[in-house]
């Protein structure tokens, strides 16, 4: 695979994973607050 392909694939995947982790984190935090 070319460097450009690796770079674009990795960056895209990381961005999407970050977005999902951000949402998941907020949802879990809220769940914890609700339980308290």
């Amino acid at each position: 695979m070319s460097t450009g392909a690796w770079l674009f694939m990795s960056l895209s995947f990381l961005l999407i994973i970050f977005l999902n982790l951000f949402c998941l984190g907020r949802l879990l935090q809220n769940r914890k607050n609700d339980k308290r």
Binding site: M1, S2, G4, A5, W6, L7, F8, M9, L11, S12, F13, L15, I16, I17, L19, N20, F22, C23, L24, R26, L27, N30
Partner: protein, 633 residues
Amino acid sequence: MAANTEREAWGSRVGLILAAAGNAIGIGNLLRFPGQAANNGGGAFMIPYIVCLLIFGIPMMWVAWTIGRHGGRAGHGSLPGMFDRMWRSPAAKYVGVLGLALPFCFVLYYTYIEAWCLGYAWFSLTGDYLDTAQRTVHLTAYYQEFLDVAPSSSYFTGLTAAFVFMAITLALNLWVLFRGVAKGIELLAKIAIPLLFLFCVLMVIRVFTLQGAGTALEGLNFLWSPNFSRLGDFGVWLAAAGQIFFTLSIGFGSLECYASYVKEDDDIALTGLTTAATNEFVEVIFGGLIAIPAAAVFYGAGEIQRVASSGTFSIGMISMPEVLRAFPLSNVFGTIWFLLLFFAAFTSSVAVAQPVVAFFEDEFKAAKARAVLWLALLWGLGTFPVMLFYKYGLLDELDFWAGTVGLAVLALIEAIIFSWIFGLHRSWAELERGSLIRIPGFFKLVLKYVTPVALAIILGGWLYGPVIRDRSLTPTPRVALWLNDPVKHKGTLESVKPDPAQKDFAASFERSIREQVSTAREDGFIRAVVHFGVDESLVIAQINGSGALASQTDADAFANYLRGKGVRYEERSAPNAPHHAVNHDVMVILTAYYTWPYIWLARGILLGSGVLFAVLVGIAWRRRSPSTGEVST
């Protein structure tokens, strides 16, 4: 039947997010995205794609959730009532009819596609499309016979099989809708979405452990290599915008309907963002890791472009089974692949049908069973033309107006109502109420100016191509060439080397065929036994015409037409090996379908459903007591 007095609600936040993600995740995530990316700049496609996600994907998600929850508070689960609450104009409810007619027309044909996936899951399980000693299965012909497009009947006779799977799919959809929001849609999402993720992971593992003519990494290289020169191309930006549009299910009225079942002070901002994020995970990560790498493994790096540009259905229903059946455990992985597509479609179709159920329940106070029954009658009735006239382009026509142009129109209207009519200040306050995240203030600017302008540009772009440039609003007959009996042949008809001397003749021959069919107003067929020589010679042994082309029996003209089109009969030593010409006598059939009545039937269905829902809206509002706004009983 008891009248419906209280609206339903979601059972849990997880259930709501899974249901909303199921709404957004569809067949397009796994099949449309990789094709679009590969054909529009590879890795560089992600630049316009992410920009579009930010400037109207996520903002429109918030718009939909806000309109939905606001409407739900007043007891409305469909757009006529929701628009009526936000826009104090007698016209508002009628504009909202788009939010019933569009999803209804969309679901008519989308469920048919869903039924193909269910059918293929069954055919995979039973090994029906696997090659055996007695039978060679040409997957293109198999697919086209299943849908009764091809004139041959080697694998399927008529639409019997398609009808069976359509009936099962329709029954499953109606059953889930009848069970209701929490016990039906939410439960389905809780089962289907985890299964969908599991199936995606299994498919990725399968694809990356296969060994064939190429490697999966070659597929990734093809898909992700950035071609920056394409970024200046307006068409690439339009393609990215379109992909974001379709993938997030914006402009259907279905997200709004789901949001209407959210409690007044429950979060919608984070829920909307999570819906988009989950959808993007399936699209960008799984969508990029399955179909194109699989094609690269099987066909080799040189053939990926052909597969990627062959279209959504060709990748899913022809290329993928071709790849999977070449390796061990084809039954298992074929079934997983098609169940994956089926679940993706199933969770979307119930979502898109729900606004109609909600409309009957909320505006006519119908009990669930009665609301679903009314939908079932309309749905069942609308299914027949979609299936019977698929080969005449009825489904494509519905898709163009309901699934493409209509969505952009509705999304644009929603953006204007949100920011300009209801007012950004009030809409923003509504969005932020109960929010679990703080939405950056710059999105106000985006929602007020950028999103409506971007949507107007997309709409203009979609209308410009077919309506102005191609002038394709006038239906033209569909011409295609087929092998008479594909199961008897090891090869296929291929367009290889058009003869430059006959190219113009081929174009004029085809034009004259279209004219004859249009004049006669009926289908036409030409059947010819053609001898294809290994020396690239082509001789017509017998020829006859029928229907509108009964007089079209000029052997020389037909031979020149085939030469001009570069048609050859070619065989392969193995499915992924290169084609080679052989001496062979085959019966070739040219079909010319007269599409005019069916294209107009599709337009009639669109218009008719719009009028029907407008009349129903008129009746529902007239029945309300003017002082309370409630339905008088």
